[in-house]
């Protein structure tokens, strides 16, 4: 007789909450029935999005609880696949927060572009459940499940504005390229399994032989799969097209959460396996990081569409994030986590402004639309400037602390010429980034107003998201880590990242 497996359901609580929530929202969508008029549908959508927000708030709450409890819980101790440790809790909170903010951004936006379908929220939650699974995976199989569960709903979401050709193109492109990457990832996993006979990270780390070409190739192919998800060069080509074609709220969602989930998973994988082969693979990562920073920043300069520019900026940021992975130290991984947190608010804020200017089905993604915006919408222009300066890494914003922390981690790591060269490349490419990040502020403040674009009203959700992002960007930029007696004692970003990484050992 097969003994009943001992399962720790508490370990899977966030996962159960978010996937249960997805079905709840789906059921609610059916239960509320179809509505004829736009206004009715809007009301229904508002209910659905509030339900999704409630679910996500519960997930964040449970992740925060497990983080402060600090214990590592395995879902199935006999077959460790998913574990809820501090790193997973941090990752879950991160992706859920990103989802929550993007859901708040979507409600009015979907009405404005005229695609108010309740499935939007269910799909979003399902994708998030994949991310939750991914960040807690300690096994190749569950990691693959997580990646697929995350990706497939996003393929659909990218084409959510189905009457638009661009949106369809975006979905198809993302789907084709994504499937290809998944296949490579799977192939790499198969090779790794072939070389080591294991699928768990711990098992692979224990029996990995750096001189076995099959294992090295397998790990390299797994890395390719991940670099696709984080849109690092040379697997970034899908990014600009998908970012441009997908509805702005979807782009906002995927740009922060997919990157966050994939990087947290990469940190886990890197920590478990890269230590075994410091040589060739870190060289590959070095090249990837340098190429990503250079190509991302250079390509962003010549874009003529705001969403495409932000897509290449997202590529460039993947390069800076990789800097922390190349450093390969606990400090480096901490820097990656902090960077993800900062990037979440910066990018969601920037896309939030685009969403808030979207009018009658048209995303405000042409540069001309921002000319003279400071005169018409001073608050939005100021916010956009803040987010752009933050993305450029200007001091006083979260972006600077994030960039400083990865630079510092890289110089601190093994103090080799290689690392210092990489940091110098990062510094010089940051200068290029200033050029394109200043383009919007330049247009908004220094150009004459062109055609009046955008709506004049800000929906409550948009207003809330922009305010949260702006405050977070400044707080994380000025006082990211506070002691218990300080004014902002609840903001302890460095402690959070340090404790998350400490959970790995």
């Amino acid at each position: 007789m097969i003994p009943a497996p001992t399962l720790d359901l508490g370990a899977a609580l966030p996962l159960l909450l978010v996937s249960g929530g997805a079905f709840l929202v789906l059921a609610l969508d059916l239960f509320l029935g179809s509505r004829a008029s736009e206004a009715d549908r809007y009301r229904k959508n508002a209910v659905l999005s509030l339900a999704a927000c409630g679910v996500l708030a519960a997930v964040i709450w449970s992740a925060a609880n497990s983080f402060s409890a600090g214990a590592t819980r395995e879902f199935s101790p006999d077959h460790p696949m998913f574990q809820l440790d501090r790193l997973a809790s941090f990752g879950i909170a991160l992706v859920s927060l990103g989802t929550l903010l993007s859901v708040l951004l979507s409600t009015y936006y979907l009405k404005e572009i005229g695609v108010q379908h309740g499935e939007y929220y269910a799909l979003t939650l399902i994708a998030t459940s994949g991310m939750v699974l991914l960040v807690g995976s300690v096994d190749l199989v569950s990691a693959f499940l997580g990646i697929e569960l995350m990706s497939i709903p996003i393929y659909v979401l990218a084409g959510f504005d189905r009457r638009k050709l661009r949106s369809n193109e975006s979905a198809l492109k993302y789907f084709l390229a994504g499937s290809f990457a998944s296949a490579i990832l799977l192939y790499g996993m198969a090779l790794l399994y072939g070389a080591t006979g294991q699928t768990s990270y711990a098992g692979i780390a224990a029996s990995f032989d750096g001189s076995d070409p099959i294992g090295v190739i397998g790990l390299a192919l797994v890395l390719v799969g991940f670099t696709f998800k984080i849109s690092a060069v040379p697997f970034h080509q899908w990014t600009p097209d998908v970012y441009e074609g997908a509805p702005a709220s979807v782009t906002a969602y995927m740009s922060v959460t997919v990157k966050a989930a994939a990087f947290v998973a990469l940190v886990r994988l890197a920590d478990a396996t890269f230590g075994q082969l410091a040589g060739p693979l870190t060289d590959v990562l070095w090249v990837l990081s340098a190429a990503t920073m250079i190509v991302g920043n250079l390509m962003a300069v010549i874009q003529d569409n705001v969403k495409r520019m932000l897509a290449y900026s997202s590529v460039a940021h993947a390069g800076y994030l990789l800097l922390g992975i190349v450093a390969g130290t606990a400090v480096g991984y901490q820097a990656v986590l902090f960077y993800l947190l900062a990037y979440l608010f910066l990018n969601l804020g920037a896309f939030g402004v685009i969403v808030a200017l979207t009018h009658r089905g048209h995303d405000a993604d042409r540069f001309e639309e921002y000319a003279g915006l400071a005169k018409r919408r001073p608050a939005l222009a100021a916010l956009m400037t803040l987010f752009m300066l933050g993305l450029a890494g200007i001091p006083g914003t979260a972006g600077f602390v994030a960039k400083y922390s990865v630079f510092m981690a890289a110089v601190q790591s093994d103090a080799s010429e290689r690392m210092v060269t990489l940091v110098v490349i990062a510094a010089l490419t940051s200068v290029i980034s200033v050029f394109y990040y200043l383009r919007l502020p330049r247009l908004m403040y220094m150009a004459e107003p062109g055609e009046a674009a955008g709506r004049l009203r800000l929906a409550t959700g948009e207003w809330a998201v922009l305010a949260v992002c702006a405050i977070a960007v400044i707080v994380l930029g000025v006082l990211p880590n506070n002691g218990p007696e300080d004014l902002l004692s609840f903001v302890r970003a460095f402690d959070w990242t340090r404790e998350s990484i400490a959970a790995l050992h």
Binding site: V411, E417, V420, V423, V424, S430, V431, V434, L438, Y445
Partner: protein, 541 residues
């Protein structure tokens, strides 16, 4: 008590606080249904900057010139695990520059009272934010904090040039921003390397330049950085080069100067005056405060090269200034020449040179700031800055001509005026370091006299040929006040520079002492102990 203990922070953040208060008031007024008038903003901003100046005078009176260490120190952990602290303090050098900033700010605001017509509120907000950035940069003793404010200052200046500037303002603004960024990001990398070296040697993470009073931990200045070695990026020359690039671009030192004429010409009057008056000093100040004491061997090693660049700047600036037809451009190029002198004085690496360099920073701030304001006054009246558009304006504008004359003389370095003292000390120091460079630099003084006087003659003297110039109105009370405020210190420093020089002695000596103590342990070890031993051994025998 609270106020006295945080005097430096109060001075730094008063302008920004006032700016935020004005914004808040404006929002409150909007709620009520009205709006704060632009003139109310002007009065508020002027009052804030005046109060800041008055409070900063307490720094002057409270400063003890006999002590070499930093005073008015505040030290609070900020990002403790990174060794980042909120750490401010001033010595005589930063004291003078802080006072220069707080002194120039109300003058500049008053001078541009009618100059800015659009978006007055944002303009004043940026000006006040800029003032906080400048003071905080001069006061910072933690490298992270220094870098933070150094970069943060770019933003208000970027907008000031880009929104209220001339026809090519957008180009000038982005050029200014990008040039500065290249240098500063490389400096950031060098900073991180020094930080690492310090950790390797002491096992602690800190970015404090020197240990805070009462603190047991060493500061970055105690780091021993090799003058040369196998690991190139850990050696002084490379690290110095990264710092020097950042500061050199800001000064600007000769080949990196191309952003300056653009920025100056396009910026509004207030922007040019602050840019020339204070912002350029960030670079020279950075050399004195950070680059020299951190990398003394490299400073000595690079001194000939920097001398060459400084000299090139002096001659190039002067020659290009000579052929300018636009007064503002002429003044901009004269700035390059003047800052070449400051660079020479700094890299003479001796007492006179350094003192002269710091004093000349203040002098240049006063006289070039004043020149830009004077050019602005002409421009407001005639909407042109072409030298050929003027001539003989001494007749319609006698007071203006007199003020212009004094400031021109001060810029040339006429004895009894401030420029003379600084230039004299610099030349003295340079002669000590290298007679050849000293003699060549003297040529620069002559050239300065040529282009400034020539310009002055063409603008002010001669018959009034162009009819528009006949009806020019002389300075009104506001403008007279502005110029009077600037002319008083020009005379004061020229006649009695002692109070300033006295405050510079101890800190300058301290910098030279630190440099000597850190320099080439091998050379010092071979020189000092042997003589000591010999002198000790003598009586025993």
């Amino acid at each position: 008590m609270m106020f006295d203990a945080n005097l430096l922070s109060v001075v730094s953040f008063l302008p920004l606080g006032a700016a935020l208060a004005l914004v808040a008031l404006d929002q409150v007024a909007k709620r009520v249904g009205s709006e704060l008038a632009a003139s109310a903003w002007k009065v508020g901003a002027l009052a804030a900057s005046l109060v800041t100046f008055l409070v900063s005078l307490k720094l002057w009176t409270g400063y003890d010139p006999t002590r070499a260490e930093y005073q008015f120190v505040e030290h609070t952990p900020w990002l403790a695990e990174w060794g980042v602290n909120y750490y401010v303090g001033i010595d005589g050098i930063s004291l003078l520059l802080v006072l220069l900033t707080t002194f120039l700010q109300p003058i500049v605001l008053l001078a541009s009272w009618h100059d800015i017509k659009q978006n007055v509120k944002s303009f004043l907000f940026f000006m006040l934010a800029l003032e906080t950035g400048m003071i905080a940069t001069f006061a910072a003793l933690n490298l992270f904090q220094f870098y933070l404010f150094w970069e943060l200052m770019l933003i208000p200046m970027y907008f000031i040039i880009g929104i209220w500037g001339g026809p090519r303002r957008v180009y000038a603004a982005i050029k200014f921003f990008l040039f500065t960024m290249v240098g500063s990001l490389l400096m950031l990398v060098a900073m991180l390397v020094v930080y690492r070296l310090h950790f390797e040697q002491t096992g602690t993470f800190t970015l404090d330049l020197v240990a805070p009073p009462g603190g047991a931990l060493p500061g970055l200045l105690d780091t021993n950085i090799l003058p040369s070695g196998d690991v190139w990026w850990k050696t002084q020359p490379w690290l110095f080069a990264a710092f020097a690039l950042a500061f050199g671009i800001k000064v600007p030192v000769f080949p990196f100067h191309t952003w300056l004429p653009d920025a100056h010409v396009e910026a509004p009057t207030a922007g040019s005056a602050i840019l020339a008056g204070v912002l350029l000093k960030m670079g020279t100040y950075g050399f004195v405060r950070f680059a020299l004491p951190l990398f003394p061997d490299a400073a000595h090693q690079f001194a000939p090269l920097v001398f060459g660049l400084g000299l090139a700047g002096i001659l190039y600036g002067a020659l290009v200034a000579m052929v300018q037809s636009d007064i503002k451009k002429l003044v901009a190029y004269s700035s390059i020449a003047h800052l070449g002198f400051v660079i020479l004085g700094t890299f003479a690496l001796n007492d006179e040179g350094l003192k002269g360099a710091v004093l000349q920073m203040v002098n240049h701030g006063l006289s070039t700031g004043a020149l830009f304001l004077l050019v602005g006054m002409l421009y407001e009246r005639r909407h042109t800055r072409e030298i050929s558009a003027f001539g003989g304006i001494a007749k319609p504008m006698p007071v203006y001509a007199a003020m212009f004359g004094i400031v021109t003389m001060s810029s040339i370095g006429l004895p009894m005026l401030n420029g003379f003292v600084g230039e004299y000390l610099i030349l003295l120091g340079t002669f000590h370091a290298s007679p050849w460079v000293g003699s060549a630099a003297t040529l620069g003084v002559v050239l300065a006299a040529v282009y400034m006087l020539w310009m002055y003659r063409r603008v002010v003297f001669g018959p009034v040929e162009i009819p528009e110039n006949r009806g020019l109105i002389d300075l009104d009370l506001r403008e007279k006040l502005v110029m009077l405020a600037l002319v008083i210190p020009i005379f004061w420093i020229g006649i009695y520079p002692q109070p300033l020089l006295m405050r510079l002695s101890a800190p300058v000596n301290e910098i030279l002492r630190v440099m000597e103590a850190k320099r080439a342990p091998a050379a010092a070890a071979s020189a000092l102990p042997i003589t000591l031993e010999a002198s000790l051994a003598e009586p025993a025998r």
